[in-house]
């Protein structure tokens, strides 16, 4: 651990709409070391998926990355063309998606889809690719992978399809795996299996993982560090234990409070009042200000800087001015 693999600096991804430019991701920065598991958490619409798609430059039109740098092993991915990106996608950085039911191509056998990843990343020998596909399917838990390679996605359950997605993503041994809510669409028992599988494979392959989720339970199980996003911005960053023990940002506190605890008996669960604002309604000052119970007059007027505290804990909130302002 600790060798810098990926660094995102001031990423800004906007969607061009009839109502103007909507910044879905607005100046997000973070770094990922080799072997690290970084969780990006936040509510729907906070920009976490757009952040992950931006890394692979898969933002669909009318979206566009308008500013920032995405340094992978020191090289800026935003300066690479499609052909160069295709060598990185799947081979260096790969991705699994939220919806296993629709993320596999329904008209090709799953073995074909796994082999394809290998073949387009330089494997000339079809027999070897096939052997590797079988090996990957066994690794993700198929009991008869030799048979399974000729299955079509429609013959598999959601959990099995997500296993195929994982096999596909890891087959070229990428350095970074981006998992965009990999368990959200699955039921809880399958969720646990998939998480365990990801953890095991991470140990085996040494890949770093960016885990996008809104489930803080998952974060506690798998992540080393956590970045909390709100309304297109990073609002807090800390090692996972530190974040749970000592959350600083009022939004993070609210999120942690809204997790039901098994040994406490509440009639109603805590919730953060209000809704996440859409990009066109972002407040002028702190974006969380309208929902924040600690909000003061300054919060409405001025945007708080993203400060780094002595222990490496970062936060974007006027309550913690002690740290040194730092945007990287």
């Amino acid at each position: 651990m600790s060798e810098k693999l990926l660094e995102v600096r001031n990423l800004r991804t906007v969607f061009h709409t009839e109502e103007g430019e909507m910044p879905a991701v607005d100046g997000v920065s973070f770094r990922l070391d080799s072997g690290e598991v970084l969780a990006i958490v936040g509510e729907s619409g906070c920009g976490k998926s757009v952040t992950s798609l931006s890394i692979l430059k898969l933002i669909p039109s009318p979206g566009e990355i308008v500013a920032g740098e995405i340094l992978y092993k020191g090289e800026d991915l935003l300066k690479k063309n499609t052909k160069e990106m295709n060598q990185i996608r799947g081979e260096e950085i790969s991705m699994i998606f939220q919806e296993p039911m629709t993320s596999l191509n329904p008209v090709f056998p799953i073995g074909h889809q796994i082999m394809e990843s290998l073949i387009y990343h330089g494997e000339k020998d079809k027999a070897k690719a096939k052997a590797r596909a079988i090996e990957m399917l066994r690794l993700v838990g198929f009991s008869t992978p030799e048979k399974a390679i000729s299955y079509f996605p429609s013959q598999l359950s959601g959990g099995m399809r997500q296993r195929v997605m994982i096999a596909m993503a890891l087959t070229c041994e990428p350095q970074i795996l981006i998992a965009d809510e990999p368990t959200t669409a699955l039921d809880v028992t399958i969720q646990a299996q998939i998480l365990r599988l990801l953890k095991e494979l991470k140990e085996k392959t040494g890949a770093a993982i960016i885990m996008i989720t809104h489930d803080l339970g998952i974060v506690a199980q798998i992540a080393h560090n956590v970045m909390v996003m709100y309304a297109g911005e990073a609002v807090e960053y800390a090692p996972v234990r530190e974040l749970y023990k000592n959350p600083l940002h009022p939004y993070t506190k609210g999120l942690l409070q809204s997790i039901p605890k098994i040994n406490e008996d509440h009639d109603t669960l805590y919730n953060i009042p209000g809704m996440v604002p859409g990009p066109k309604d972002y407040p002028k000052g702190c974006r969380f200000c309208p929902r924040c119970e600690y909000a003061g007059e300054r919060c409405e007027r001025e945007k708080p800087p993203y400060v780094k505290r002595a222990d490496g804990h970062r936060v974007r909130c006027w309550l913690y001015e002690g740290g040194e302002a730092n945007d990287a």
Binding site: L58, T102, N105, Q155
Partner: protein, 306 residues
């Protein structure tokens, strides 16, 4: 797959029986008497009656139907009331012509239509897309006989490059094929474009891209294969349409095909020819539809496992 194929082929049998019943009885519903039409006006009633008796037209209609079906199985479609030649002979002379035109027209419109449709989808709302869609709208809206006449005017009358009537050489086939292919071309391009636009937004296309698969493969293999169902449907329909609707084009170019034969048989009340021609064309249509269904299953595994 084999089981599915056998099932689909067996399903053709009841369809063909129903077809034969409809064809036979529908034609006898048409007002007008074939014998009077054949003998012309002013012929004594006794002669007409004699001729009706000789042709078996006075037997109960069920008996006529059974006799007709029995003869079909012996390869006998009867004799033309007009030309007195076997119907099988009349059809065998004309069917290849119509099939050639229909297949040719379908191939031209499908190949070009699919390519143009994919290009339009990839350049959505840009110049090339607008151009292709405008041209395709034009070809869809323009009646093929009008297009045929325009072609003749330009290439036969003005330039003198191509022969205008008959079908004796490949050069003769150029204009009829263009005329038949053009309307299908626009239809195919539009169908392909909308199917591709639908597929290209699917999650699995994003997955393909996230794996670094070259864009050409993503479009022409991953996306196009998923768009094939509506495209194949459109091709099947086009072929059927060209088969049945070739009458106009055949008339314009004076091509002795099934369409022209059908129209002539109607005007002369030539029952044996008429019912045989409809039966043959409709059977081809049913066979084509079955083939289309089998291609569906080959393309999309979800269909064969249902």
């Amino acid at each position: 797959m084999l089981k599915y194929a056998i099932k689909r082929i067996l399903q053709m049998i009841p369809l063909l029986i129903a077809l034969s019943v409809i064809v036979f009885f529908l034609i006898r519903w048409i007002p007008g008497d074939p014998v009077s039409a054949m003998l012309g006006p002013g012929v004594p009633a006794s002669n007409i009656e004699f001729e009706r008796e000789r042709l078996g037209l006075n037997d109960p209609i069920i008996v006529q139907y059974v006799r007709w079906v029995r003869d079909i199985f012996q390869g006998d479609l009867g004799k033309s009331i007009v030309s007195k030649k076997p119907v099988v002979y009349e059809i065998s002379r004309r069917l290849p012509v119509t099939l050639t035109l229909a297949v040719g027209g379908t191939v031209i419109s499908s190949v070009l239509g699919v390519i143009l449709g994919v290009i339009a989808a990839m350049r959505q709302n840009r110049f090339l897309d607008n151009l292709i869609m405008s041209v395709s709208l034009l070809t869809v809206s323009m009646p093929s006989f009008f297009f045929a006449l325009m072609l003749m005017l330009i290439f036969s009358v003005q330039l003198g490059w191509l022969p205008s009537i008959g079908l004796n050489s490949p050069a003769h086939a150029v204009m009829p094929l263009l005329a038949l292919g053009s309307s299908g071309l626009g239809f195919m391009a539009r169908t392909t474009r909308s199917a591709m636009l639908d597929v290209i937004r699917q999650d699995y296309i994003r997955t393909s891209r996230s794996r670094g698969i070259p864009e050409k493969i993503v479009i022409y293999s991953h996306a196009l294969k998923n768009s094939m169902i509506p495209i194949i449907t459109a091709i099947g329909l086009r072929f059927g349409g060209l088969l049945a609707g070739s009458a106009v084009t055949e008339t314009v170019f004076s091509i002795p095909g099934m369409g022209k034969f059908l129209v002539d048989s109607v005007t002369k009340r030539d029952y044996p020819c008429l019912q045989a021609a409809i039966l043959v064309l409709a059977t081809i249509f049913i066979v084509v539809n079955t083939i289309v269904d089998l291609i569906y299953a080959a393309v999309d595994p979800r269909i064969r496992y249902e």
